[in-house]
Symmetry: C2
Subunit: 218 residues, 2 copies
Amino acid sequence: MPATSRTTTTTPPTRRRRDLSLDEIVDRAIDLLRDGGEAALSMRRVADACGVTPMAIYHHVGNKEGLLNLTVDRVIGAILPDAEPDTPWRTRLVEFGCAFRRALLDHPGVGAVFVRRPIIGPGFARTTELIFETLARGGITGAAAAEAADAFVLVTMGSVANDLSRPPDVRERLLGQVPDAETPRMIGQIDAYAHRDGEARYRRALEWMLDGVERAAR
Amino acid sequence: MPATSRTTTTTPPTRRRRDLSLDEIVDRAIDLLRDGGEAALSMRRVADACGVTPMAIYHHVGNKEGLLNLTVDRVIGAILPDAEPDTPWRTRLVEFGCAFRRALLDHPGVGAVFVRRPIIGPGFARTTELIFETLARGGITGAAAAEAADAFVLVTMGSVANDLSRPPDVRERLLGQVPDAETPRMIGQIDAYAHRDGEARYRRALEWMLDGVERAAR
DNA sequence: CCCCGATCTCTACGCCGTACAGTTATTTGT
DNA sequence: ACAAATAACTGTACGGCGTAGAGATCGGGG
């Protein structure tokens, strides 16, 4: 059929869309990461979710690693601190840390990516600023602040990693790896150790750490 | 050539070997992980390194996840504590933690796998026992010991995750993500923050944490 | 009106994990 | 001693992956 009306805007066999945006791509990537974990995120699936060909994504992100960075950084940047200006600095830090922890753990895959490799974008930069600002409210500045920020990030990442590594059946899996006689103390502690309230563990560890921060800052 | 000497042990066109062992497979996997990071570990490459067909591996490990678990657990299990019986418990814990940290960070990929998902094998079980045993030397037992072990693991995993996320160029990458005016405090701290001695950071954080452990245990 | 650059599609390549079906070497039962 | 069972391995194939490269199609500026 070569000679019929060519002027009508009949949609050609493959539709074309001009409005695919980076934001939409990242949104769909977050969906996939939340619903199916890290393994569910593939360029082809993101493209499908956007109603687009896989290669279309590459006009907006470079490669998969770039998309992963954007995705995780956006989740991080979306975590908002308590806005009350007179919340004590320790409370503010602890609550922000808990929110951070929860945001990462609520998106299976996001946390896994975060603890594994450098995610440095605007979200992370702003988060770092927020930590220093909160420490400054407590009078912690200079070298002490860098040490405190280090410790805070370390404990928070550790908690995320720890919870990612602690499956519901830790107890059963820990027992039986080795003859019971070789791990008597572990067996005695197994119930306390397998306890699954990760946030309580995080709060306790963070409070201890902040005690150290305060003592070091005099 | 059907009628010639069949009794001689001439190797048939495709060699068959009866000596492929799980240990060899795991050894080769560790090599790949150390030399090329997590991305370098594929079933096909492990098979190549063993001089064997990819599918041969599956007679020993089930699937790739199983192989990864075995591999990481072996690295963990190979970390040996100070054998001196009269080393103070805190020193012993700190030194063991440093060895643990180093072992994971010296094998790019092993650490990345460890902080991301459950690795529970004999190596991990024995490590857990070792921690409880060392704490007991310091008189920390019962519920306090479970809390202390939690905190120790948390800080240690956090340090590994932290170092994996801190590329050589953190400084440059952190700056420029956001207008400088939005992150004045971060900019003031950037040199201290980008400092790269991960072990020093780990030791400081761990000491603070152990202070908390001791105070909590009275 | 035409051309240009941005945006998107199509096709293809090489790698991946692994299912399934042989093939052979060793062990076991008699 | 020999057949049958089993364990250890090979070969082939499938579907999915990231992405390179070469068009196609379109809005907008000369």
